[in-house]
Symmetry: C2
Subunit: 370 residues, 2 copies
DNA sequence: CTGAAAGCGCTTACAG
DNA sequence: CTGAAAGCGCTTACAG
């Protein structure tokens, strides 16, 4: 299909000037600039780094001459050399436990990355995505044979679940990092920016109680993630305080039809579902089963789709500020890496609050509805 | 901010541990590894770079000891230093002319990044996203004050449009890079992986002709991008060959209602629209105007939405293999960076072919339909 | 087999 | 004001 382009390129290479023998691009260096401008290499550096230092003042005439040569040659200082010389490499690593970019339907990280990119741009750092760590069984290992974390000045950790031992090892190593999502491991020494799921879930529970519900059902994920525990905790505490209990079941999404049958026989008036996708599926199952939502069954989602799906239903749900999560994580990491350590100290563990969206799937219960 | 690193480091050295004076983690160096393993720094380097050279063979016992220390310390060679010393970092840069991650509705890069990530994982390279270059007026500048391209071994360039001068400068600099999308600049010396829009558009034009259409209208983008020209070229050549002409208009999407009025008075039987989003809008405008699609007006989109939108219409359209584009670009860049230059030479300019999707918006024309 | 040494391109005290 | 020099952390001939 593209066989002929090949030929074109060969021709180009042959007469293009660059020898095939040398892979090494010839780089313009400060020494060359210095020669051309008739100054020392150090002076070029001084001009470039614009030292306004009173002790190191370069006459305008010289400075102009050097700058002119730099312009003419389109010279750019080698970042690697600058970095080695101690100017820092302004590199923030991003380690995702799963693929960072949407594969199949998984699109968990995108909004986080959007926030991260914006913040990275603001503070002028580049982002290093650790894609060289292979994804095995859906997970990347933080510490593997050829760990390259140190390529970056510090690192952001993203993932639903993180291995506690790895996390502990990482804090112990003194490497600056920030987890996205609350992490309890390592005796609370993990710096993170998380979402206050407990509070938001509690508010949602309160809404249901105030609507008159008394029969609760909660279908949550089997993950052992903090975020799952937080939601459960928020729900339980609010319901318990009001004197209610809640039926609970776990799903990984593969058995939703069966789950629906169990829910149905439990006869709740309101159903809390951790995963937004599951909420959609269950709502469809309910409707297909002749149960109208929310008239006969209210459904509350404890999360939301990353982006609008085809599903038209505007669930009563909670909405995590994912972009903000990303940008705040960058800010915290930056602070940890370069912070002055003085009174402006940022808390190393932050929870951002979560919005409750009223939606249309919560209504007052109808007695004996299901 | 970094000016006093020297000083800070001294402090650290003096008391042998983490001083309060600096948050800066003390970097593990080969010298420390060497000390811990009881070998010379050069030996550590030798072990790391796995020289199987017969002249430089290190006893397994020593090698193992060194490797163990490296594992324990999670040491990783400083990429900047490696670069300076003349080796690669297994680092592929990604330069996007706009924000890489979806901001607002723009989601142009995501599928490309998905493909790139997969390929990067396969060949074991990390991805360096150049987010430090600020986006000004929606565009990032490749060559700006503090250009850091050289931190990576090579770079992928992504963007609808690229500045020809910048591209020329980049080839001239001998820095290995691959553009995603066909680029004509620099006398055809730009390595790229592009999409064969011309061929696919021509096929679509043929379909329309075969359906009996004779009145064509083409609404395309005002971008000066190669991809826009390719589509136009594919459409024109096919129509011209069949003895037809085509009405043409440009839009940036802000004036679609007006565009529709003009289209309407031109009375085409088939409307080609470059942008998928515009196609959706125009279809709605047509329907709202009492023109039924495709019975009275066929609409063909020369692109598609990145992901399924709410829009239910299954357009007759072309579909670019964006993930493949990403992964092939990585493969090509890898080849350019590490290629042997022998007979297995990959073409430096590749076009991948584009799928035509039949859809439901192309039908035989009805005489005097509009 | 392994260490000492040169050098990559820069920044920044430190001397003239 | 400006140059000579040390040093950043590494790789790689080159000697032991």
């Amino acid at each position: 299909m593209y066989g002929n382009t090949h030929h074109q390129f060969r021709l180009n290479e042959e007469n293009g000037g660059g020898t095939v023998a040398t892979n090494r691009p010839e780089r313009v260096t400060q020494r060359m600039i210095a020669e051309l401008a008739g100054v020392s290499q150090a002076t070029v550096s001084l001009v470039l780094n614009g030292k306004t230092d009173s002790t190191t003042r370069i006459p305008d005439e010289t400075r102009e001459r050097v700058l002119q040569v730099i312009r003419d040659t389109t010279y750019v200082a080698d970042p690697a050399a600058r970095r080695l010389a101690g100017v820092g490499n302004s590199l923030i690593g991003i380690f995702t436990y799963e693929h960072a970019f949407p594969h199949e339907s998984s699109d968990f990280y995108t909004p986080l990355l959007t926030g991260i990119e914006g913040a990275a741009e603001q503070i002028g750092v580049d982002l290093l995505m650790f894609t060289s760590a292979p994804v095995v069984q859906g997970r990347r290992r933080l510490f593997h044979e050829n760990n390259r974390l140190r390529l970056a000045d510090g690192c952001l950790l993203l993932g639903r679940e993180m291995d506690a031992d790895e996390l502990t090892r990482l804090v112990d190593s003194n490497y600056p990092f920030v987890a996205i999502g609350r992490r309890d491991a390592a005796d609370g020494r993990i710096p993170y920016v998380g979402v206050d799921y407990a509070a938001a879930t509690a508010r949602l529970a309160r809404l249901a109680i105030e609507s008159g519900h008394e029969q609760f059902y909660y279908l949550h994920l089997s993950y052992d993630a903090e975020s799952t525990r937080d939601r459960k905790e928020g729900l339980n505490s609010e319901l318990t305080a009001a004197g209610f209990t809640v039926d609970t079941a776990v799903t990984d999404g593969s058995d939703l039809a069966a789950a629906w049958q169990r829910i149905r026989s439990a006869r709740p008036t309101v159903l809390f579902v951790e995963d937004a996708g599951h909420a959609e599926a269950l709502r469809d199952l309910a409707v297909a089963d002749g149960v109208s939502v929310p008239a006969e069954l209210s459904i509350i989602a404890l999360g939301e789709r990353t982006r609008p799906s085809g599903h038209a239903v505007d669930f009563t749900r909670l909405s995590a500020p994912r972009e903000e999560l990303g940008s705040r994580a960058v800010a915290l990491l930056d602070h940890i890496m370069n912070g002055t350590g003085d009174s402006t100290e940022l808390p190393h563990q932050q929870l951002v609050s979560c919005t409750v969206i009223a939606g249309t799937t919560l209504a007052a219960p109808r007695v004996g509805s299901i």
